[in-house]
């Protein structure tokens, strides 16, 4: 077998998933070919690393840590919810206060407007009365002074 076709099978050889007959042929080639042997050694090192990782397990306190995490996640949810509610209530309160202030402003403004209108009418009436008074007074003055 040539190096090119051997090279394609090296990773499968490293993980021992090739048929025995094929393994024997490739091992025979590896005895004579330094390049392929080097590649094989590298892949064997990686394979060993993966096998070592497969022996690893979580820490013995995994479940107790998980339980604590679950409990703290629940409390976090509540504590996240509470300030949200407080913030919402605070916001709503501010909106209500501003709305009341605007309504009061409108109400007071309308009252002032009515008061001013009334005042204007009173002033107009007073003006008319004064004018009347003056015209009467003028007539009387003219009568008295010039003896019309």
């Amino acid at each position: 077998m040539k190096c090119k076709s051997i090279s394609k099978k090296l990773i499968f050889l490293a993980e021992k998933s090739l048929p025995v007959a094929e393994e024997i042929i490739i091992f025979q080639h590896l005895k004579d070919c330094v390049t392929c042997k080097e590649q094989y050694d590298k892949l064997i090192a990686v394979e060993q690393l993966i096998q070592e990782k497969k022996l690893l397990d979580v820490s013995p306190y995994f479940y107790s840590k998980l339980k604590t995490q679950l409990e703290s996640a629940e409390t976090t949810e509540i504590s996240v919810l509470q300030p949200a509610l407080v913030r919402f209530a605070h916001g709503s309160f501010m909106v209500i206060v501003v709305a009341i202030a605007i309504l009061m402003g409108i109400f007071l403004g309308q009252n002032d407007y009515r008061y001013l209108n009334n005042n204007k009418q009173v002033l107009k009436q007073t003006d008319k009365m004064i004018q009347n008074d003056y015209s009467i007074a003028d007539e009387q003055f003219a009568t008295n002074y010039f003896n019309f």
Partner: protein
């Protein structure tokens, strides 16, 4: 206990059932996460996230697939999310460590046998190279390879988790291995 019974009990937040579930799936989930994340502590954190998600959303599980398939899917999603979140930092660390770790053969004087420390460094370096190679695979190949290699899931279960055909899984794993071999050998060639 059948899946249905477990799900019913989990839905009532039965702690004993949850503990049993964690006990039986802990190692599998951890290996799946480790295959993606590659760091032991990070893998444990992601495993915790997986079980929290299982506990919280078991009511939403409709029973369309096996319970184990559903758990593996959660593990897969959590691991991929973790990788997405930590992509920038991780690649930085990885490159940093790849280029700053002293190489055993270059830095020891006239010693034929590498010391334990050197071996450890070599292993760490190899682990980083493997991590980099796995992460550079197309995502489908990465998922299929990791589930098969790290957790030894049967091809049919991988097909169920990934919602693809059995032949597609076989092809993905075969291509993933060839790609990995190419990347690992090429990297090591550049290195020496």
């Amino acid at each position: 206990m059948h899946d249905e019974a477990i799900i019913k009990r989990l839905a009532t937040k039965d702690e004993k059932t949850f503990q049993e579930l964690v006990q039986s799936f802990r190692k599998h989930v951890y290996h799946t996460c480790l295959g993606f994340v590659q760091d032991e502590d990070d893998a444990e954190d992601v495993t915790q996230e997986v079980f929290i998600e299982v506990f919280r959303s078991v009511e939403k599980f409709r029973g369309d697939s096996k319970l184990s398939t559903w758990i593996y899917r959660i593990a897969l999603n959590k691991s991929l999310n973790y990788l997405r979140k930590h992509k920038k930092t991780r690649s930085f660390i990885s490159i940093d460590q790849l280029f700053h770790l002293p190489h055993s053969n270059n830095e020891t004087f006239e010693s034929n046998e590498p010391s334990t420390e050197d071996k450890e460094l070599e292993k760490k370096e190899l682990s980083k190279v493997l991590e980099k190679a796995i992460h550079s695979l197309p995502s489908n190949q990465q998922i299929a390879f990791t589930l098969s290699k790290y957790d030894e899931l049967p091809y049919q279960e991988i097909a169920d988790v990934m919602k693809i055909s059995l032949s597609a899984v076989e092809s993905l794993i075969h291509r993933a291995k060839l790609n990995l071999q190419k990347k690992l050998i090429n990297y090591r060639k550049d290195k020496y």
